[in-house]
């Protein structure tokens, strides 16, 4: 099973996220991650959805999304032509024994420490999913107190843009 990342341009109206996520629930499709935010135009939002599946499932999802009235554009973002990023905020226990190891990991992963207290450290990391996963694995032995990750956002390389001509 392959991972697909799709970009969806939707009308920026209330309820639109329910409609999109509700379609996944209703049809029994699973989502790996879903992110949503405004676009360059305040009339539209952009939803990035990642899911695992085969070609059949991918087609079903695209076709069902296109049937939703508030969905204006849907496109599969092919990994070779797309920049994909995720943001991680992770809080790790800060002890005199572990501090230096954590700092080294932060440096090598080009992460940042964005909050520091005598008992806890908050690190910020941006990158592809595999990098984020590796960083989390690395920090596990030091005691992860809490973490949150945004899920994927993705944008095509070069001239190609996901925009809608529909209103």
């Amino acid at each position: 099973m392959e991972q697909y990342v799709i970009g969806v341009i939707v009308s920026n109206v209330s309820g639109v996220l329910s409609r999109v996520s509700g379609m996944f629930t209703r049809r029994g499709f699973n989502i790996d991650s879903l992110t949503v935010g405004e676009t360059e135009s305040s009339s539209f939002s952009r939803i990035t959805i990642a899911f695992h599946g085969d070609d059949y499932l991918k087609d079903r999802i695209l076709l069902q999304l296109r049937k939703l009235h508030d969905v204006k554009e849907v496109e599969v973002l092919r990994s070779s032509e797309t920049v994909v990023r995720e943001l991680l905020l992770i809080k790790v226990r800060n002890t005199p024994q572990s501090r230096q190891d954590i700092m080294t990991a932060v440096e090598i992963f080009r992460s940042k420490i964005v909050d520091y207290s005598t008992t806890a450290l908050v690190c910020e990391l941006t990158g592809e999913t595999s990098k984020i996963d590796a960083f989390i694995d690395l920090l596990k032995p030091y005691g992860i107190m809490e973490m949150c990750r945004t899920g994927l956002v993705a944008i095509e390389r070069g001239e190609n843009c996901l925009k809608t001509k529909r209103l």
Binding site: G15, S18, G22, R26, R60, L63, K67, H69
Partner: protein
């Protein structure tokens, strides 16, 4: 015009060509009903007994006419009572606009009296829905609801309108014309050529059509194609009435309770041309076995239906009428004598099996003493047989619009009723809503001015019989034929076949007197248990001009046959139960 929101709603409905609406008043739609009162010479409101009945009536109106059906209900329970009716319309792709009132905007989200988030509730069972929170957007939102409801594959749309929006005022200008649907998709030339080549190469093509032929107004085109390529046709439950029953190429409904000949012909074909159908599980049975023998060309207006249930060799996303018409011009006239001869054999075999099944039933005595038919003392062979009931009633019914509820009677009507013109068979196919029929029959009678004929069962009728009140108060010509066997027949049939005859909660033992019930509602009622009695009653019913109920006593050992067992295939077809 600087007018109130409530007046904008009514003016927009009239502008959209709506002559009749169905509904039920309540606190949060009082303003709309005030405008309906003031405009009763321009738009007719039919008051139902229950919002569910109103929703089914709007659905029946839409199915019988092809226009958008409109239903109005108040907030909270009024709105939730619409839900089954909306879902019924959604599953069968029926254009409908449901207008609900809601509490004023500043009370939303506070669990106010009779407040429900109906937009949230109906999201998965509508094409789209709206809540209007700005009166300046009210008229255009209602117009958009009509546009969405009737574009492409039709469906229901909910417009939720808080009371303060109905009370507020703004500038309104009526449009000269109803909204036009979104442009249709036209089939790709190359794809149609490929389809024509596949048809030319096929030896035994078979046309399988669905409700898309009715909503896409493609009956003539489909019949012309069948004629030109010399192919038999079968249809889904939703496709019934698209092609006249006596078209020599038409083999009837196929699928779980479809005709033997159509199901067999499909299985023996080498190319299935699927038109405006979606290969539902009831039509296909076991999906792994279903398309073992044939290739498939699938044409549908909804691209999401292509390859969804059954993969097609060639899938064309297009308006069905245009696609079939152009396909027809691309194919050469062909004659297939061998295939026609085989179809004739299958039809003859079907007749033999129907007779065989009848003999089996006659030999049984009613084993269930609470059943009404066992109390009449009539020998089994003289009892009313379901097919006889349909034959007798249809011979008196003229061009009546036929509605059904859900269960055995529905399947018997689907198999047997001689349907002649599109939009004359109203049945809940996708959702299978017991209690659908009476509302639908009322909506159809109100829309067409013709007789409506409802086939129902004693189980289904019990679900929404309160709409007798509506039919009587509106003076509508509705003939109700109850196939009364004292049991929930279809569920009982499954219990007989697959649950070791454990008749759990399917023996009704109700003692309901449907004749007295009809009289209590102000309708006329007659009970019949023989063919002679039914002939007299049916003749009277179709000259009565009002609501007429015929309670037909039917043996509870009657089965709907043939039957493909659930998850089974054509190999498992049951045509006789010993």
């Amino acid at each position: 015009m600087f007018i109130s929101g409530a007046k904008i709603i009514v003016e927009t409905l009239i502008e959209q060509g709506c002559d009749t609406v169905f509904g039920y008043p309540g606190g949060q739609v009082l303003n709309i009903f005030d405008e309906l009162y003031l405009n009763s010479d321009r738009i007719n409101h039919i008051l139902a007994a229950h919002e569910q009945g109103a929703a089914h009536a709007a659905d029946g109106y839409a199915r019988a006419t092809g226009k958008v059906g409109v239903v109005i209900a108040t907030s909270g329970p009024g709105a939730t009572n619409l839900v089954t009716g909306i879902a019924t319309a959604y599953l069968d792709s029926i254009p409908m606009v449901a207008i609900t009132g809601n509490v004023p905007c500043d009370l939303i989200g506070r669990d106010s009296f009779q407040e429900v988030d109906i937009v949230g509730v109906t999201m998965p069972i509508t094409k789209h829905n709206f809540i209007v929170k700005d009166i300046n957007e009210l008229a255009d939102t209602i117009r958009m609801a009509f546009k969405i409801a009737k574009s492409g594959r039709p469906g229901p749309v909910v417009v939720d309108i808080p009371k303060d929006i109905q009370i507020g005022k703004c500038e309104f200008e009526a449009q000269a014309q109803p909204v036009i649907p979104y442009p249709v998709l036209f089939a790709d030339d190359d794809q149609l050529k490929e389809a024509a080549e596949m048809i030319a190469a096929a030896e035994r093509p078979y046309i399988y059509f669905g409700g898309g032929i009715i909503s896409g107004r493609a009956s003539a085109e489909v019949m012309a194609l069948a004629e030109k390529i010399d192919a038999p046709m079968g249809c889904t439950l939703m496709g019934l009435s698209a092609v006249p029953y006596d078209n020599p190429r038409f083999l009837g409904m196929q699928g779980m309770h479809g005709h033997f000949a159509s199901s067999m012909a499909q299985d023996e074909s080498d190319l299935v041309i699927a038109l405006g159908a979606r290969f539902s599980d009831r039509a296909t049975g076991n999906k792994a076995r279903f398309n073992k023998n044939f290739r498939i060309i699938h044409i549908d207006i909804d691209g999401a239906e292509l390859h969804k249930n059954i993969p097609a060799e060639l899938a064309i996303n297009a308006d069905i009428r245009d696609a079939v018409e152009r396909l027809c011009s691309l194919v050469n006239e062909q004659k297939r004598p061998q295939w026609s001869a085989r179809i004739a054999e299958l039809k003859a075999e079907e007749e033999r099996r129907i007779e065989g099944a009848r003999e089996c039933t006659f030999q049984k005595e009613c084993s269930n003493c609470t059943n009404p038919c066992s109390n009449t003392g009539i020998p089994a062979k003289d009892r009313l047989n379901p097919y006889d009931i349909i034959d007798i009633v249809s011979s008196c019914a003229g061009d009546a619009v036929v509605a059904t509820d859900v269960g055995q009677h529905q399947m018997w009507a689907a198999q047997r009723y001689p349907l002649k013109t599109p939009r004359t068979f109203l049945t809940s196919g996708g959702l299978g809503t017991m209690g659908y029929g009476l509302g639908a029959a009322i909506g159809a009678a109100a829309a067409t001015g013709k007789y409506s004929l409802l086939f129902t069962g004693d189980g289904s009728f019990g679900m929404n019989l309160n709409e007798l009140a509506t039919s009587v108060s509106q003076g509508l010509p509705v003939v109700i034929v109850i196939m009364n066997n004292g049991v929930l027949g279809m569920v009982r049939q499954w219990q007989t076949l697959f649950y070791g005859k454990h008749y759990s909660n399917t023996t009704l033992n109700r003692q309901t007197d449907f004749v007295k019930l009809a009289e209590a509602f102000g309708a006329k009622g007659v009970r019949v248990s023989t063919k002679d009695e039914l002939e007299k009653a049916a003749a009277e019913a179709f000259s009565y001009g009002g609501t007429f109920l015929i309670d037909c006593l039917v043996d509870c050992n009657e089965f709907v046959l043939p039957m493909l067992p659930p998850g089974g295939s054509i190999d498992d077809i049951i045509t006789e139960i010993k």
